[in-house]
Assembly symmetry: C2
Homo-oligomer: 314 residues x 2
Amino acid sequence: MQQPRRYAILGTGALGGFYGARLCRAGGDVHFLLHSDFAHVRRHGLVVDSKDGDFVLPSVHAYGDVRDMPRCDVAVVALKATHNHLLPSLLPPVLADGGVVLLMQNGLGGEEEAARAAPGHAVVAGLCFLCSTKVGPGHIRHTDYGTVRFAESTLDGTAAGITESMRSIGQDFAEAGIDVDVLADLVLARWQKLVWNIPMSGLSVVLNADTRALMTDTHARALVEDIMREVVAGARACGRAIDDGFVQKMLAMTLAMAPYRASMKVDFDDHRPMEVEAIHGNPLRAAEQAGARMPLVATLYRQLKFLDARNRTG
Amino acid sequence: MQQPRRYAILGTGALGGFYGARLCRAGGDVHFLLHSDFAHVRRHGLVVDSKDGDFVLPSVHAYGDVRDMPRCDVAVVALKATHNHLLPSLLPPVLADGGVVLLMQNGLGGEEEAARAAPGHAVVAGLCFLCSTKVGPGHIRHTDYGTVRFAESTLDGTAAGITESMRSIGQDFAEAGIDVDVLADLVLARWQKLVWNIPMSGLSVVLNADTRALMTDTHARALVEDIMREVVAGARACGRAIDDGFVQKMLAMTLAMAPYRASMKVDFDDHRPMEVEAIHGNPLRAAEQAGARMPLVATLYRQLKFLDARNRTG
């Protein structure tokens, strides 16, 4: 019988903590890198309050330094994209020969950063549709959704197809009770996610509003829709066709969901750096390089850059 | 010797109170319509703290109802544009035969509303470059500038040239020590003012920032400049050429001025309705009707409409 794949969770927060704990509970060999919660989690483990059932892991493999960790088959990057400058020091020590990077982040550009930091290793993206929050040290609250969509990154941005790496990682997640999907084209999947994320994350911060407030105001909703259409046009310029019905589906889905505070808004409210470059800046530049202008997204980007700078300096 | 022109000041706030008090001090026959400050001003008059010299008018002609006022040669509309629905009840009772409406408001569309409310009367616009605030009942603080640029409105939007009405009113203001200018083309003057007002008023509210903060942040400043260029293009579509140097002049002027809270921001902070339709909505629609799209202004307009609605409902 084969050894189970060994996982390193780089960043044990609302997202990494949730998926890592689920893999662990299912019998996975999971190693958690922590920063501020290290001492607490080493002593008390992890607590997950989840709509799918609460559970406690009283004892987990917890580390405060990546150099203490064993080499792993899968290094899960569950840091915010604003911390990707740390990848060159985090990834090489923790990756086994043939180990795979699983990047669970928002926006565009993270795969390229991971590939540069871990040359020769495959980079699989895990696009997460998850509502969870860290409510205390080692304490995660999972309120909704949870699906992970896996897609593999290629150096030239073409579709990788369904690869063995994503299949086997997807299998581990599925066995942990996570709803999974495997996708042939990462770039398409990223742009589809941006159709929602660019307007909803951005406007939630600029207008200090949750998803419900934005969707029930005539003007805000019209702005959301126009921004979504602009992102679809940006995707098209980058060679990814997203059909018209997708925007309507996203609008209906958002209107139907419980009022939600996007993660960018949570970061802003907590005075943490926002993932503006990953979610707004990189798509904007990619579309512009492909010949598409996105003036509404550019406006939002500049507003967010202003707010982000002020939010962190005082 | 001719009788002095009789003035009605409809709206004795930061603006109407300032100019009315200056006309009054210079010996003008000035009648003030007040709302919340009526009882106070009738007893105590007006107090003006001004960079050009403080003064007190212990007794003024104060009215709480327009029907108590004498008929006047000039009816100065110094209300916010958000109150223009009151013009049909305010203007007819106070205008003498041949009386002129002097509209001292921001944005586009006010002249048309005044003309509809007072058919047969000339409508002159007074574009004010004034920093003043009402700091208490009948108490106005004038901190900077003060110039009024007069231009006459025509029904078809063509340039009226320099008319006798604006000359004589301008003369009264000049004699009151106000810096005045007379302009041949009202629509051009309005669009020139909008080049500054649309980005600075709008962004000051959306980004909760004063002029200095917007001008010293790279991203916000770039956004200000792009919005200014879009307004210039909108003006061009409406047949008004504003040259490229004008945008640079506005940027340099704004950077040089003391940090300033635009009047739209003051209204927002005080939970009063904002002049969004006059400053953003009407120019947007005018440009669109003339075939120009202004996507950045449209974005700002929708953001402001959202914020305005929420600001007033709770």
